[in-house]
């Protein structure tokens, strides 16, 4: 555990010493902030219009639910933004070590491959969690001016954390394949998009196959969290997904020890 912690610390330091972490966080917050502002503004506008309409026709205005109109689309958008941004966190994890040749040093050190993978992944998740925590400021605005439901927000953040951690594990895996950070980032985005869109092709497949393939879609498992339903099966899915990604990264790193040897 101490060794995992050592890797984690080293990785965190490298994030925050170089400007990369700040740029990524600022980029993420800026885009999320713009979306938040636009969604909230259109909600306020809509409430106003509906009230006006109701007064004009002397009807009772329909209920305007903050969660339906603001937080739910907010989480949906944030999941898409994370898809684009998170590969920037993971692209360097192993690709950089490979490029600099430091990976051999690490592999010959008393640190095991599993400890290495866990430490680096934990650092990426920690950075991502920081990003998520900063977005809580937007929720603060909602509490300041309205009455949002705290449990729904918790559900959305839990989903965000799980889906983001799944993106990160894909990024981790792809950075073990190459020493080129750009290739690692681009292939990560491509694969996340594939896991994202996989649910859309199910209509063209036979029902049984479609249902099976649909189960692999990252976004389909996210939808319940987004609307405020915490379902244990989705949590199990994301955790299995992350576990599988970590395991594959481990296997990929291990394979470099014997690959090509007779």
């Amino acid at each position: 555990m101490a060794k995992v912690w050592a890797i984690f610390e080293r990785e965190m330091k490298s994030y925050f010493v170089a400007p990369i972490a700040y740029v990524v966080i600022a980029l993420f917050i800026a885009i999320v902030g713009i979306f938040f502002y636009l969604i909230l503004a259109s909600f306020v506008q809509r409430c106003y219009e509906i009230d006006l309409y109701a007064q004009q026709w002397q009807q009772t205005a329909p209920a305007m639910n903050l969660h339906e109109w603001v937080t739910r689309p907010f989480f949906g958008n944030m999941a898409t933004i994370a898809l684009m941004i998170l590969p920037l966190i993971t692209m360097k994890l192993f690709a950089e070590e490979k490029k600099n040749g430091t990976i051999e040093l690490l592999q010959t050190s008393p640190i095991t491959t599993a400890q290495l993978v866990l430490g680096k992944y934990a650092a990426a998740v920690a950075l991502y969690s920081t990003m998520l925590a900063i977005t809580l400021i937007y929720m603060l605005f909602l509490f300041l001016y309205g009455k949002p439901e705290i449990a729904q927000i918790f559900s959305g953040y839990l989903g965000m954390w799980l889906i983001g951690s799944s993106y990160l594990v894909i990024g981790l895996l792809f950075s073990t394949f190459t020493d080129n950070q750009i290739i690692a980032a681009v292939s990560t985005i491509a694969v996340i998009l594939m896991f994202w869109a996989i649910g859309w092709v199910t209509d063209f497949l036979s029902p049984a196959l479609g249902k099976f393939i649909g189960q692999l879609s990252l976004i389909e498992h996210f939808e319940d969290f987004e609307k405020g339903v915490v379902d244990s099966k989705h949590i199990v899915f994301y955790l299995s997904f992350i576990f599988m990604g970590l395991f594959l990264s481990y296997a990929s790193l291990e394979s470099s020890r014997w690959r090509g040897s007779r």
């Binding site: 010493v17 170089a18 400007p19 972490a21 700040y22 740029v23 966080i25 600022a26 980029l27 917050i29 800026a30 902030g33 938040f36 502002y37 909230l40 503004a41 909600f43 306020v44 409430c47 106003y48 209920a63 305007m64 639910n65 903050l66 969660h67 339906e68 603001v70 400021i137 937007y138 605005f141 001016y145 309205g146 009455k147 949002p148 439901e149 449990a151 729904q152 918790f154 497949l205 036979s206 189960q215 609307k227 405020g228 339903v229 915490v230 379902d231 244990s232 099966k233 199990v236 899915f237 299995s240 576990f243 599988m244 594959l248 296997a251 394979s255 014997w258 690959r259 040897s261 007779r262």
Partner: protein, 514 residues
């Protein structure tokens, strides 16, 4: 030099790809896919045999051993995770965090969906911007049972489906269960669940016609018979049968609507009793009376109908256009009711008496008029039909005269569940009374809207909606209104200041380090 056998593994791969492609397109294992698979295996086997020396050498390398070990391990891990997820999918715990429990079905709905015996297909015709709430709702049903399948269709881009299911409004749901179809135009949980009950109910709806009181014959094809009405009912998926009430202990349970059409003799006391009991079990009754014939007043007055001792006269010129006499009012005015909603056809009643809703019916009963003749002085209810017909103040009923009415009363029933728990269900007893029976006989059935009005009334009676009382859920109303200052604060603080300050901190640290 590359020899021909080098191409064998490539050929095998191409064949496998072909097999997959064929399977995906035809969605089944066809002759071609089997053939492709066989050829692929064969060419790979031939290659291995011809190149056995190389293959053996390759297999004995360390990297092959490790590689195959790793692949096997990955497969095992995948298998275990697949199993874990399968079990987790079966035994999941769902927590709806919304305050109004927007995404949870009521226990009744859950139980009902779980009891589906075979597949139920729901087609929801919704425009894209209205699809989200119905998707959420149907997803909750689908979560309860694998047999519940749904599909959301944009009616504007799928005219073939719209035509096939005869969709007339946006936001229509079609439930298909076996060969039964149920359509609803309100998509809330109570509506969907009650539609489910209706569509799951076995057997067709049965309409019983009473006999032995001088009613017209169902199979009579002459002017005075009911052949047309019967044929039309059968075409609308009803079973039609006759019943001699006096022979029965109670009205059969499969009776969806009991019809009493123009009795020339009054019903026996025990027949009245049977009908009373039937109505108290939320039965459905339609009575067609005629002037100067038994009026079943003993039964009908307690349900809020006032049966007039008169014959309605209509001297408006419109009726004459169709060759109708004074004693055959042409009706064009239909007060608002579910039966007459969007009904815009003329109906003709030959010799009709007034049927008026009483002002204050017994508690729980609502009565309303269905059809009215034209206004006074063109129309009135004549009490003494003699050679000289005229309105007598104080004796006759001033027009417009109501000639049909419908009553409804909620009845609470205890429904025994499968595991011995009783749930309270609310059903409605319904009664429709017309002051004339001729309008559905062969001679008049096809005149303008006569047949349609009759069928509308039967359909309304046979409808079994409101079987289970579920309170519809309402999302919390937690709107936000912002002043310009507040909005600007959010913009500058959240969108500009926050990301910028993070960036500046980063730059400062970076420069400091350098």
């Amino acid at each position: 030099m590359i020899q021909w056998k080098q191409y064998l593994p490539i050929a095998a791969l191409i064949l496998i790809a072909l097999m997959l492609l064929v399977n995906l397109i035809t969605q089944q294992w066809s002759m071609i896919s089997w053939l492709a698979l066989t050829l692929a295996v064969a060419s790979f086997a031939i290659y291995c045999w011809l190149e056995r020396k190389t293959v053996r050498q390759w297999i004995s390398t360390r990297s092959f051993r490790y590689g195959s070990n790793t692949v096997a391990l990955i497969m095992i891990v995948l298998g275990i995770l697949g199993l874990v997820n399968f079990i987790a999918g079966r035994h999941n715990f769902r927590w709806d965090t919304t305050q109004a429990k927007l995404f949870s079905l009521s226990p009744q709905s859950k139980k009902l969906v779980k009891s589906l015996n075979h597949e139920l297909h729901v087609k929801a015709f919704f425009r894209p911007s209205y699809q989200q709430p119905i998707r959420d709702l149907l997803e909750e049903y689908a979560n309860q049972s694998k047999r519940f399948r749904y599909e959301i269709i944009d009616p504007d881009v799928n005219p073939d489906q719209v035509k096939r299911y005869q969709i007339e409004n946006y936001e229509t749901l079609v439930l298909e269960y076996g060969n039964k179809i149920e359509k609803i135009t309100k998509a809330t949980e109570p509506d969907i669940t009650n539609a489910l009950i209706r569509v799951m109910q076995e057997g067709e709806k049965k309409v019983y016609f009473t006999t032995m009181h001088g009613e017209p014959e169902l199979d009579d094809e002459e002017r005075g018979g009911l052949h047309h009405a019967k044929t039309k009912l059968i075409a609308e998926n009803y079973q039609v049968a006759t019943i001699f009430l006096a022979e029965h202990q109670q009205i059969p349970d499969d009776c969806s609507v009991l019809m009493i059409v123009g009795p020339k003799k009054d019903l026996l006391p025990n027949e009245y009793q049977l009908i009373e009991q039937y109505l108290n079990r939320a039965g459905r009754l339609m009575v067609l009376l005629n002037p100067d014939q038994p009026d079943l007043r003993a039964l009908l007055s307690s349900w809020g109908f006032e049966i007039g001792d008169n014959t309605v006269i209509d001297i408006s010129p419109m009726g004459q256009l169709f060759g109708a006499g004074y004693a055959a009012p042409l009706v064009t005015s239909y007060p608002e009711h579910e039966i007459t909603r969007d009904f815009n056809l003329m109906t003709l009643f030959h010799l009709v008496r007034s049927v008026t809703p009483v002002n204050q019916p017994r508690a729980g009963i609502t009565v309303s008029s269905l059809a009215q003749t034209s206004n006074f002085p063109n129309s009135w209810g004549e009490t003494r039909l003699t050679s000289r017909v005229k309105f007598d103040e104080g004796q006759d009923l001033k027009g417009p005269v109501s000639i049909a009415a419908a009553a409804e009363k909620e009845v609470k029933l205890q429904v025994q569940g499968s595991d011995n728990d009783t749930t309270a269900a609310v059903r409605k007893a319904r009664v429709v009374v017309f002051g004339d029976s001729d309008f559905i006989t062969n001679g008049f059935f096809q005149f303008q809207g006569n047949g349609d009005l009759f069928l509308n009334a039967v359909n309304w009676l046979a409808e079994q909606g409101e079987l289970i009382a579920i309170r519809p859920k309402q999302a919390e109303d937690n709107r936000i209104s912002l002043t310009t200052q507040q909005s600007l604060l959010i913009f500058w603080l959240g969108v500009v200041f926050l990301p910028l300050s993070i960036l500046i901190i980063g730059v400062v640290i970076y420069v400091h380090r350098k």
